[in-house]
């Protein structure tokens, strides 16, 4: 079965014989010297362009490589600085803690008492104004008196060049009192 098919195929590929006398005359063809197809300046230009292109590619690659090197270098610097920053921040935090410990009132007191010989007093005297001022129950009446006095002052003309009465308290008359013993 395969042989007839091959025969058919061979028959199909058989070409018809060429007609020696063409019906239409073909123009004469010459072999052209390749150097004559383009002018000399044109070719030089192309070479330059090609050269420039190669140079551009090589340059771009070099710039890219250099940029990569710079980026890598900068990244390394950033990493180093970041590491230093982290370390410095940690040191700052440690120093803040150390300062807080040094400023601790308990530590300051301990050094003052143990090393510098400070002795805490058994009692502390405070100076205060002589005028006791009003208590809550007296405050209302005092405020009323003050308002009345202010109203009267407002009615009186202030003498020109007159000396002002100095108000306030003086420590000259301050005296030391001790609270009486407590009672229930």
């Amino acid at each position: 079965m395969a042989t007839p098919a091959r025969a058919v195929s061979t028959a199909a590929r058989a070409l018809p014989a060429r007609d020696p006398s063409p019906k239409r005359a073909r123009p004469e063809l010459d072999v052209v010297d390749r150097r004559r197809t383009t002018s000399r300046p044109h070719r030089r230009q192309a070479n330059i362009l090609r050269g420039l292109g190669v140079l551009f590619i090589v340059g771009a690659l070099a710039v890219t490589a250099a940029a990569h090197a710079f980026v890598a270098s900068d990244q390394q610097r950033i990493d180093t600085l970041q590491s230093k920053l982290t370390q410095t921040l940690a040191e700052q935090q440690d120093l803040q803690l150390a300062r807080a410990e040094l400023e601790s009132p308990a530590r300051v007191l301990a050094i003052a008492e143990r090393e510098l010989g400070m002795i805490s007093p058994q009692s502390v005297s405070y100076l205060a104004p002589v005028d006791p001022g009003p208590s809550v129950s007296q405050a209302g009446a005092a405020a009323a008196r003050a308002a009345l006095s202010a109203a009267e002052t407002a009615r009186k003309p202030v003498p020109a060049g007159g000396d002002r009465t100095r108000t306030g308290t003086s420590l000259a008359g301050a005296r030391s009192l001790t609270i009486p013993p407590p009672v229930r």
């Binding site: 990493d79 502390v124 405070y126 205060a128 001022g133 809550v136 229930r184």
Partner: protein
Amino acid sequence: MVVIAAVALSGLAARLVQIQGVDAVHYAAYGAQEVYQSVSLPALRGAIYDRNGNLIAASSQRVDVVADDYLVGGSKAGLGRLCSILGLSAPALWAKLSEHSGYVPLAYQVSRTTEQKVASLDLPYLTFAPDLARTDPDGDLFSPLLGIVGFAGQGLSGLEYLENSLLAGTPGSEVVPTGLNGEGLPGTATDVVAARQGTSLVLTLDEPLQFEVTRALSQQIKATHATGGVAIVEDRRTGGILAMVDLVVGPDGEVVPSSQNLAVTSVYQPGSVMKLVTISGALQEGLINPSSVFTVPYEISLGGWPFSDADFHPTEQLSATQILAQSSNIGTIEIAHLLGPDRLSYFLRDLGFGQPTGLEWPGETDGLVPSPNDAATWSPSSMGTVPIGTGEAVTPLQILDAYNMVANDGEFIAPRLVEATISAKGVEHVLPVQHERRALSTATVSELLPMLEKVTEDGTALAARIPGYTVAGKTGTAQIPSTTGPGYQPGAWSATFVGFAPAQNPALTTLIMLSHPDLIYGGLASAPVFSAIMRYALRHFDTAPTGAQGLSSGSSGVGGL
């Protein structure tokens, strides 16, 4: 042969397609798992400052020294120096290095200096694991308030627990390729998510005042042989707690900070400081005025139980002001009967008892306040015990807040410990003051203030006076209930003084409570501590003297303040 080769090649091709195509993601992940390691970056916990910017708690980066004991072998080179650096004994260190676990922590949270010393030994089996340490520069000065931070960096108690969500921050992560020994290759981290530092807190507490209050309370605990005490100083205008001290006597007899904030988590029978509820309620209801006179016997019987005043006296006529100043139990019970159980119960809650203070402290108790509507808590004698402060159990902070309300012209302000937050970027956010509600009218307060001032002028708390300043307040003395059954512990008392100064324009409200003092009365044991602390505090906060009471000058007998 050709067929076999074709089948084998087909199988290989199929396997290749499966590995490189179908299961490519799975195998890539498997490979990455072998090579890359995800590392958690711990977030630095926020710091805690006092109101003046003094650092009172902060985290710092530390390392744990870890040994791989499989790599130690029999070599003991450098172990002697390692022992001296880490403070370990040689047998203890060698025992650790013989555990055969592969991961033996030798020391936790060592400092950078120690780390460098250990690293200089160049022992191949030692590595350093990053860790964070929480440090309180003031030692245990604030410990009952700050609480504890666990090894995992989480707040376990106190303020560290209460504000953990703010303080903790957010951990970061990074992916690091590892070498053959499993250690990350330096400088190769990818997918870095930076840890976000926690928010810092600025507290209302004042470090110098906290120290002085601790000193004064500690000295009085020793002087009165008390078993412990609580002191709180509060800013009247903002409710900010300026000092909060909880001290107990330890097993060795030394006065030490309590393990918890007793001012908020423990209750006690406060005694006569609770007379404020009855008196203010009766004034508010218009039932009495400061001059209302009552016939007061020494003793009465109520619900089958005898009630008496502290000292014997014949039946006498006392004004409401005198009843409060002399702390008459019978006079107060008489006024309470005018008020009645329902209104008494109402004013108990109106003044903040039996409910949270607003501090939202972990473990805070509401206290135990009886109600006439609850037969289980109210008895026929309750109208005797509740008005004089022996029928309820409250926290020291609840008492302080009730008196601070009076000092604040009848308006409640929630107590607070956190004044502001500071974000990781350094932005400060000041928290607003919580004005809660008006409990008493200004008219009632204006009548009540002189009555409370009388307590320190010629009442039970002369020792609370402060030279140059007027003081208003109240003493409280109560027996301590038995812990084993009904009744009281014989000879065991609690002594309280709570007050504010200057009385005309209060700046600070302070409570002092001593447990089991041998000077049992609040006016004797606690009032002097109040005076000593307030002398310092009023000047510390530049409060101008108002005169009266102490007149020109005076001396402090407690703590040398």
